[in-house]
Amino acid sequence: MPKKHLPSTVYEDVTELPPSRTARNRVKRAAHSAGLAVEDQLEPSLGVDEARSSRFLGVEGATVSFGQGDARIWPLRGVSVMFERGKLSLVMGPSGSGKTTLLSMLGCLLSPDEGSVFVDDVLVNQLSETEKTAIRQKKIGFVFQAFRLFHSLSAIDNVALGFELRDPKQSQRLEMARQLLDQFGLGDKCNQEPNELSPGERQRVAVARALAGDPPILLADEPTASLDAQAGRNICQILRNQVDEHGRTVVVVSHDPRWRKFADRTITLCDGQVEQEERNL
């Protein structure tokens, strides 16, 4: 079966993913209309692990445009990139090359005009906003260049909010937030507000918040751009450790060449297209 004819896909465990019954039924209907049992959705030439790996996280033929008429621009033109599970992938490229647009799609924050987006084996284009929100909530941690901490909350409350968003019933969130901050060397800064922390400390709090609830995917947009050299190296190492010690999948968008030595793979975008792919480690 040609790849492009595959229905919405959950390759291993349809009952687990996508998160809602509606989406699961949609997958089943799509599979049925394609004349397949759900289990038949695997590509015949791939084993389960290979199939999961091939569409775990990424985009296929993704085209994105903004604006109208003469002002219309295409940040991405037919880009196909798949990110491997349990690896740290680096996306580089000049300004305007489409890096952040790509990251937005991987984070279910933007839908392509054309093409497919897969997150944790789920084709997310067809999902409703509520379902995409649920995927962000359960599967993805975000690290932003501007930290995006809640300025009125202390460090520990920012991280606890991360736990709360992933599991509102989690009663131990403050304790768990404290443990995470301890791990990142911020045990003594728990009660400080973001504006009382250095940029490096703020970014570590942001990473802790992103990791609250143990999401399998971490998306980081220029996480070291606002940091000095030492703080930047710390963040690089922390994210690298997430891959090595916890098996998380990390995608970093950055201009910073220091990331190359921490990344398993580097993808270079230019003018909305993949210019180069290389394996670093």
Binding site: S104, G107, F142, R148, D157, L161
Partner: protein, 372 residues
């Protein structure tokens, strides 16, 4: 919800500005509302003070202050209608009042029979027997400067007749800029030059078991040349006259409506601006996977907290101001229900404004979090 509360208390200056905006709006709404309610109340105060069921007036009388005399037979015929238990007379006319020092002042002289009502200020009632003379003249304490009597009792002149000012009362202050004086009916018609059987208003009480509507209809059929109104109808007519047909009432009504609308706009604008200042945080919340309901709850909680605190402060500020204002505007009146009536729409506007801003928060593009 901790985020909502922390957002509020973290930026105290912004919170203060928001609360100040809401307080000002509530203050304005309650103060203007008190002016309107007080004005309406004053416009029918004497009608409401009567323990009556039905008022008979000359045809076309629009307000208590502008009555004309009825033929003497009206009272007699009314008394003969089945179901009428009691008839009393009330009159009101403008008169010239002269103080002991010779200062002249136009006054509105009101005379009433003793049984018109327990709250109706007349001197010849059993409760005051022995304290003041049956033909004493009463005035409201708020008109003290206009009446200008050095002590009680004081001899004055009303329409060149000698009169004795003997007591101050409260709650019946000048409504037209002309002070009210109250005396017995027989005394009033003497000052005003009415005949002994003349009446301006015939006030009726209906016997128990009789229907006010039926008695009113019988009276109107028997007395087609006069207006027969229930007490509430005449009070309403009087209020509408002063509110709608006079410049003063129209100005107060307009000011009250504008105060209400401006208050609501101020509340809405304040809450909306407050929400929009946090729009980046809502985008972050959405990006992190917060469901729409959580974002909406945070925004609504912030709005209602600001609205509640602002409303309470606004009320705390307006109550003493209204109390103080009674020395300048005696008829201003804040009933117990007015703050609730004003605070409820104010909080509703907080909610509506926050819902409008929630829409912005909910539709904010979460991808903007990637912008530095």
């Amino acid at each position: 919800m901790k985020l909502a509360w922390q957002n509020i208390i973290h930026d105290r200056s912004r919170f203060s500005v928001t609360v100040l905006g809401v307080s000002f709006a509530v203050f304005l709404m309650v103060f203007q509302g008190s002016l309107l309610v007080g004005f309406l109340r004053a416009a029918s105060r004497l009608i409401d003070a009567s323990d009556s069921d039905i008022w008979i007036t000359a045809r076309g009388v629009q307000a208590f202050e502008f009555g004309t005399t009825l033929e003497s037979r009206v009272r007699e015929m009314a008394a003969g209608v089945p179901g009428v238990m009691q008839t009393d007379r009330v009159c009101m006319a403008f008169a010239v009042y002269r103080t002991p020092k010779g200062k002249q002042q136009v006054v509105a002289l009101v005379g009433a029979d003793p049984n018109v009502g327990k709250r109706f200020p007349v001197p010849d009632v059993p409760e005051l027997a022995g304290e003041i003379s049956p033909d004493a003249v009463l005035y409201d304490v708020s008109d003290r400067d206009l009446i200008a009597v050095p002590a009680l009792p004081t001899e004055v002149e009303i329409n060149r007749h000698r009169a004795s000012i003997e007591r101050q009362i409260q709650g019946y202050g000048a409504f037209l800029g002309v002070p009210f004086l109250f005396t017995s009916y027989r005394n009033a018609i003497r000052y005003l030059g009415f005949g002994p059987d003349d009446a301006m208003y015939v006030v009726l009480r209906v016997s128990k078991g009789s229907s006010v509507a039926d008695v009113k209809q019988s009276l109107q059929e028997r007395l087609p040349e006069v207006d027969v109104l229930t007490r509430d109808e005449f009070a309403h007519k009087s209020r509408m006259y002063w509110t709608i047909k006079t410049g003063a009432g129209g100005a107060i009504l307009t000011a009250a409506v504008l105060g209400f609308l401006i208050g609501l706009v101020v509340v809405s604008q304040t809450i909306y601006a407050n929400t929009m200042e946090n729009i980046e945080e809502y985008a972050t919340l959405k990006a992190l996977g917060a469901p729409r309901s959580l974002v909406a709850r945070v925004v609504l909680t912030q709005a209602l907290l600001c609205g509640t605190v602002g409303s309470i402060l606004g009320l705390i500020a307006v109550i003493p101001v209204i109390n103080h204002a009674t020395s300048l505007i005696p008829w201003i009146y804040m009933p117990w229900w007015l703050p609730a009536v004003m605070v409820v729409p104010s909080l509703t506007m907080c909610s509506l404004a926050s819902i409008a801003s929630v829409r912005s928060a909910l539709t904010v593009e979460p991808g903007r979090v990637f912008r530095a």
